[in-house]
């Protein structure tokens, strides 16, 4: 009898633990109604100017599309000062492989273009809220600049998953 009662007790504990685990795994989204995107920095690794601009412009576009923010401000925009719950996105190039569209077309296995950016999401006081390396790639089809589109989509997804204009659990 004692054996049965302890078995039931343990199974109940395990069931509760399993049931609770998916809830605890879900991240709490930080409140952020606006984001300001700084120009991508490439101090150590020399990045072609068109890549730098394409990363920045695609990032702004993707954050406007799927970031979930009420406002997306550009680098230096004076209106961002008045924004409540502002998050500043600071990106630094950590890796870059130029690749070749011709090689990709001819071989299909070589010539991939890849760019890795260290993204820091900071609050208005400069405190880092989230940091993550995000990679953009183009392996098969498309020009080299398509890697910047891939990076922008992934970064917007990271922002969407971690920040929300209203504080809640996803």
């Amino acid at each position: 009898m004692k054996f049965y009662s302890s078995a039931i007790l343990w199974s109940a504990v395990v069931a509760v633990a399993f049931a609770a685990s998916p809830l605890s795994a879900q991240p709490v989204k930080a409140k952020a109604s606006a984001i300001q995107v700084e120009m991508i920095h490439s101090d150590e690794i020399k990045l072609p100017a068109e890549f730098q601009i394409s990363l920045y412009e695609n990032l702004i576009r993707q954050l406007e599309k799927q970031g979930g923010f009420e406002h997306v401000y550009r680098d230096g925009d004076r209106r961002a000062k008045d924004a409540a719950d502002l998050v500043v996105l600071h990106g630094t190039v950590r890796g870059f492989k130029a690749g070749s569209e011709r090689t990709r077309r001819v071989t299909t296995v070589a010539g991939a273009t890849s760019v890795t950016i260290h993204c820091e999401f900071k609050n208005a006081d400069g405190k880092v809220l989230l940091e993550q390396d995000v990679n953009g790639k183009v392996r098969f089809f498309g020009g080299n600049l398509r890697a910047t589109y891939d990076f922008a989509k992934k970064t917007a997804r990271v922002a969407h998953d971690n920040f929300s204009s209203s504080e809640h659990k996803s």
Binding site: A49, E57, R74, D75, G76, R78, R79, R102, V106
Partner: protein, 174 residues
């Protein structure tokens, strides 16, 4: 008295000539470059729109179809030129050729044409930074860059070169 009048008239003529030269310079315009593609970043212009690019009256004009967009040269913080290549055949033909038997279609991928790139960074009236990328026919970017610089735009490339020259000239002294 006559000499003074003569000198005054010469001075006035010189001043008038100077003003007219300045006016001519202010209304300077570059030769329009056609077949330009605004790859991304130009406000109000769809990506990959094809049009013509000119620099006149201190502004960079991009006209496509019946529309046009312009950027004030003085607001441009950085203008950089570069070059790239693109497939010589169109996108559709290129994609269709990929399914040709025995990989024969890949042969077409070897043929590529060169083009120039013109990259700008400028600030709008709110201080917000914008980036624009243009693709131009070969040797089309450098004259536009020179004209923009003459009409008030800035570039970091010249400064970098100057800094490199300065550092190299200092090195032998040490």
């Amino acid at each position: 008295m006559k000499r003074r009048k003569f000198l005054v008239s010469i001075a006035m003529t010189a001043a008038f000539a100077g003003l007219s030269v300045c006016g001519a310079k202010a209304q300077q315009s570059s030769k329009p470059v056609t077949d330009v593609i605004a790859i991304t970043g130009l406000p109000g212009v769809k990506d990959n729109a094809k049009g013509a690019l000119t620099v006149e009256n201190g502004k960079l004009h991009f006209s496509y179809g019946k529309k046009s967009s312009e950027v004030n040269a003085a607001s441009i913080e950085d203008v950089v030129t570069g070059e790239d290549t693109q497939a010589a055949v169109g996108k559709t033909v290129s994609n269709l050729s990929m399914v040709a038997p025995y990989g024969s279609g890949r042969f077409l991928a070897l043929f590529r044409t060169k083009f120039d790139t013109l990259t700008l960074q400028y600030r709008d009236e709110n201080g917000a930074l914008h980036g624009v990328i243009f693709a131009l026919p070969t040797a089309g970017a450098e004259p536009i860059k020179k004209e923009l610089l003459a009409q008030g735009a800035h570039t970091t490339v010249v400064e970098e070169r100057a800094a490199a020259t300065n550092s190299s000239s200092k090195e032998p002294k040490q």
